[in-house]
């Protein structure tokens, strides 16, 4: 390994090189940060399935964003001359029994599912990070109250609440996303709380506290950046979880409702006519599976790349 000499020690990566460089030291910190990202990039690129995952995911996002410009039909437009048609040059993915173009519906459904997943994963990660670290740092009453809420939600039948609330919302995706955040943040928050318990005893936290930095600022600028790699992995896994939860709900008919479509509701529609028109199931199912599997591969690669103790990404 000839590149070793020009790189900082990989085991000193994410923990000592904080996200916020001390003022006046900007030059060296900048160089360090660049090499840190290069290091992560290298470790990630060495993991071929993870790179494949990124490629598939980018293609899917491109498909969701630009796919509708290629579509010949709108997803609510009905073609009465083509009812339940198999895939053809006119309707690339075929049509359903009302004459909707499945290609257009898959594009819209993928957009919807992706949007919900990203919103939910972001919300869950932010909420769990702030609550988990704040509970650990402040201790006392804050800790007791947050832990009580977390433990209560762990016993509560969250899937049932989820189904009831999103069913009641009448299929508004924003409500579904909000409810999904509410029922999925607490597991991560508990993990983060456990990790932060040891972080709060570290010297730099004590130093910041004795310098008079306010508590919330310590949480946001010193504790959360230190669990950054965990949060990144949680985010990608959160996307997978949210996609699965949302499609499950929509499949059952409790999630996104017509005329709005998501991959789950498309599969649900396809399931009812699976033996007579299997293409109605194939295309949304393929999009969904590619989405979850690619995100999982990315998460796996990120975990190896960001973990300073992992040997799976090779050396340096």
């Amino acid at each position: 390994m000839t590149t070793d000499s020009s790189m900082p020690d990989p085991t000193a990566g994410p923990l000592t090189a904080g996200e916020t460089p001390p003022p006046g030291d900007a030059g060296t910190a900048d160089r360090k940060r660049l090499s840190k990202w290069r290091l992560y990039g290298r470790r990630f690129a060495r993991n071929r399935p993870a790179v494949a995952g990124v490629v598939i995911f980018v293609l899917l996002v491109a498909f969701a964003v630009f796919g509708s410009t290629l579509a010949k039909y709108d997803h609510v437009e009905l073609d009465f001359l083509a009812l339940s048609d198999p895939p053809s040059p006119e309707h690339w993915f075929g049509t359903n029994n009302a004459g909707n173009d499945l290609y257009a519906m898959v594009v819209i459904g993928l957009q919807r599912s992706l949007l919900i997943a990203v919103v939910v994963a972001t919300g869950t990660t932010v909420l769990s990070a702030v609550i988990g670290t704040a509970a650990a740092y402040f201790g006392g009453r804050v800790e007791r109250v947050s832990l009580f809420i977390i433990h209560f939600l762990m016993v509560a039948p969250t899937f049932l609440l989820l189904a009831m609330m999103s069913n009641d919302s009448g299929g508004d995706w924003r409500v579904i996303a909000l409810v999904l955040i509410l029922v999925s943040w607490f597991f991560q928050a508990r993990t983060i709380w456990t990790l932060s318990l040891s972080l709060r005893e570290r010297e730099f936290v004590h130093a910041a506290r004795y310098m008079g930095v306010p508590g919330l600022r310590i949480v946001l600028r010193h504790l959360i950046p230190n669990i950054g790699s965990l949060l990144v992995v949680n985010f990608t896994l959160g996307v997978v979880g949210a996609v699965m939860a949302e499609t499950g709900l929509s499949f059952l008919g409790f999630g996104v409702k017509l005329p709005d479509v998501s991959l789950g509701s498309l599969i649900g529609i396809g399931a009812s006519s699976i033996s007579s028109s299997p293409w109605m199931f194939f295309f949304p199912a393929a999009a969904l599976t590619l989405l979850t599997v690619s995100m999982a591969l990315v998460a796996d690669g990120l975990r190896d790349a960001l973990d300073p103790t992992s040997a799976a990404g090779g050396r340096a």
Binding site: P49, V155, P157, M164, A285, V293, A296
Partner: protein, 313 residues
Amino acid sequence: MVVAVTNLTYLLAWAYLDPRSNYVGRRPPLSETQITNLLEPRNLDDATPLLERWWTWFSGILFRWDWGVSPTGQSVNEQVAYRMWISAELMLGATILLTAIGIALGVYSASRQYRLGDRIAQGTSIITMNIPIVVAGLGLVLLAIAFNNAVGSTVFYVTGASSPDVSGFFPTLVDTAQHIALPTAALILVGYAQYHFLQRSLLLDTIKSDYVRMARAKGLTKQQAIRKHALRTSLIPVTTQVAFSIPGIFTGAVLTESIFAWKGMGQYFIETISKNDINGVVAVAAFGAVMTAVGAILADIAVVALDPRVRVS
């Protein structure tokens, strides 16, 4: 905790579900008083104060173990008692099989770390783990239909838990197997991988530990050392995970049961929500909470049984 969760669900269910709406828009239309007359004896009339409704419901459970009736008058007790066993039939078999497969694969790939077998097993597992259960289930349905067509007779049934006109011990057994094969396969396909990964990483940690190296130094083969020394320690966290997955399997089965049209607890859950059956919804929630508690207790028992360092006084 179980009691608190159940009561909270009762109140929440009243906030989100409205049994009265079942009767609105009927032809011929029912008058307000007619609907009230239908709902009132079932303790589902929202004109009665919530506190009174709650007390009638709660005391019914407390003193008579009566979980109330659905808007159409069916007893929730009977439904749950009947459906519980259908779910158990599916779940128990699937859980045992997927745990066994996962652990076996984990041991296999841990003892061949980074060799071809390990790589292939890991690659397959990360894909199957992230196939949504809906896709897995329906994909299996398609395969089974193709297989049935190819063979020319119905080997796999894709819907229901049993055929109605089967009697005798062996025909029933065969019939059940024909029905249970597909949903079990779907549950195993998406479920085994988590135990594969868990068992693999735990076993790798223990293989590297001093006492396993010591066992090898004593002259045990690698197989013996893994089986007698490493496996037992690494099984403890896996068992805890399995026990805690009991409620998780229960919610996962919501989708499986609705795909394969099994009339189990998962399907009951969907039915109760879409039919505004408040008493049923609460019973499902209580069932889930009890399952969580049972899982926690089982986890403790398993740890005591497997881990000699934990002593029960």
